[in-house]
Symmetry: C2
């Protein structure tokens, strides 16, 4: 056997040798974007010394790739989407792509407009977290693919629409969190928040239908909660499901109302940050101690949750990883070009249950 | 006197009459972007009924305005910039403009690239929160104006650069917060965080110089802290100023080190969210109770701060308003076009000191 052939140097190796960031190396070697003269010289000298050959990047340039991707999120002020956007930017930037982010404030009409803007701006691909519910028109989600622009759904699937997607396993996450509360002895568990329907719901079937008409991710979390109750043969109490507008203030009101019930919840599972802070306000105003009088589990771990008194038990979503994997999948589709015959793929990432100190056995009376 | 001439109907009035959002009305009347056939009919009928004349918007279209603005932020995963971006999007969307957001991870090279990308994409204007420090090159901040693309600085001034800007009065905010701690009886007040210089600092002059070489907003907050000490004739203790990398972990380490001093701080003023959560971790691990043993004031109010135990006293920045005013200033420049001879203007918004329960008199011994 002869001497093993050394593997081709990567952009990362060139960047490290030049002492510059990967994005700078990628831009220099790809011949696009801004790089200062000094940085360019350092990168080219390092590439030369390592024997780097511009292959894939050069090919991208020659096929007219614009090196921008579009990102459409439902709410840019939500730290969840901020973390996701950061993960996307990291991966895009390391490949020399810029990410243009648009926020739709959960309005479908804004989302349709955002897709049109990005197609007009000739981005190379789109990552989109859709506000569309099952009943909405989704023609705008198929438009980019028809024009040769790959699109990856992020965080939210659209039932019945077969597109590339990276999401988390919301149902398993909610089932796990609820099961932990049941294991601690709770059977009356408030669910904040349920589907945003204005009316009172009388039957489980109605609840499931209402959830199915709304956001996929919210519906999955409710289904996971119901799974856990079913597993433990605990009957559903519809008074323990928050309905209506999804705001911190409405969560406060719903929890306050639930606490006044004869069969008041002894624990709360809060599926969003605003749902959680609204619940915490209500528990404080009711003078209830966590976890001795009431237990609580949140969703969307933040650095705040760990410094609360007591530190809060949370479901942590892999925000950065969600963004990174969506960007990797999109860049792979962009690299493959129009000849890409691989069918759409849907990746489901696991969440992590972070056990801290906000769950305790249910009080025997309150 | 004759009958007063009725004022011309606004887009908002047309939108209200049509029962649609302002963005939809603006797009319909401006003749750009996506509007469904049904919405378009409703808007046009309402415009007709009210006698609306498309003047300004029609003029924009005829002069080749693309109805997109670029937004460059230092860190999209920071909720502060998320709130700012939301404020910008609201105002832009109500005028029928789409906001494209790019994040630079506080890297100047990424910022220069982002400006180039936005100029390439022919946006109508740029709002930018710069990572540039006093010593950095700022040619890229002048480039858009030279090409007839207005640029508004947001949150961070660049000393010596005369550009439109909307910022907060960081110095007054920090002076106020520190003065409140002094009024409660504290004279040993930890400042988390100071300039990110790696070396130990021996003299006040060195500290001020180091701050002057770094981010304007950070330097202003330090200056406000020093103002308050000077006002009360309290000598500066350099051991109470955190230096080094600005991360939650480094804040934790700095506070832990300060608590071991003979003259340990009895209070902490934390100028960023990560500085605050790092400090809270350190206080918890040291077993110190807030506020009976140590007082704390944070910066950047979040919904979490109000549900902490105890609720935290905070400096609230007007994030949404910062974004809104920057967008309004930018749109005014875009409307005025190339003939705009008005000199650059800098607006400084006030912060709010939110008194809660994390400040108490200094303990007589600890």
């Amino acid at each position: 056997m002869g001497k093993p052939r050394p593997s081709a140097p990567t952009i990362s190796e060139v960047a490290a040798a030049a002492g510059v960031g990967r994005a700078t190396a990628a831009r220099t070697l790809g011949g696009y974007g801004y790089v200062s003269a000094e940085m360019r010289d350092r990168v080219l000298a390092a590439a030369d010394a390592l024997g780097y050959r511009t292959n894939q990047l050069a090919r991208s340039v020659s096929t007219g790739v614009s090196h921008t991707i579009g990102v459409v999120v439902a709410d840019i002020s939500n730290p969840f989407f901020g973390g996701v956007a950061l993960g996307i930017s990291e991966v895009a930037s390391a490949r020399g792509f810029d990410a243009l982010v648009l926020s739709t404030a959960e309005h479908l009409e804004e989302e349709i407009n955002a897709v049109n803007v990005l197609v007009d701006k000739r981005v190379d691909g789109i990552i989109l977290s859709s506000a569309a519910c099952a009943a909405d028109s989704t023609a705008h989600l198929q438009l980019p693919n028809e024009q040769g622009i790959p699109l990856v759904l992020l965080d939210r699937l659209i039932p019945g629409l077969d597109l590339d997607a990276v999401v988390i396993d919301n149902r398993a996450a909610a089932r796990h969190a609820t099961t932990e509360l049941i294991a601690a002895g709770h059977s009356r568990i408030g669910f904040i928040w349920g589907p945003p329907v204005p009316d009172r719901i009388e039957y489980r079937r109605e609840l499931v239908e209402a959830a199915g008409r709304n956001l996929w991710s919210d519906g999955e979390r409710l289904t996971g909660y119901l799974d856990a109750l079913d597993d433990a043969a605990i009957p559903l109490d519809l008074d323990h499901i928050m309905l209506g507008e999804k705001t911190e203030m409405r969560a406060y009101e719903a929890v306050t109302r639930m606490l006044a019930l004869d069969a008041a919840p002894t624990a709360f599972f809060c599926t969003e940050t605003d749902a959680l802070t609204g619940t915490l306000h209500a528990l404080r105003d009711a003078g209830l101690a966590i976890p001795s009088q009431v237990s609580i589990v949140g969703f969307d771990d933040s650095s705040w949750a760990a410094v609360m008194n007591p530190p809060l038990t949370m479901v942590r979503q892999p925000m950065l990883e969600l963004g990174r994997q969506a960007a990797e999948l999109l860049l792979r589709r962009i690299d493959s070009g129009a000849g890409d015959a691989e069918p759409p793929m849907q990746r489901e990432l696991e969440t992590e249950f972070i056990e801290r100190e906000s769950v305790a056995p249910a009080p025997t009376h309150r």
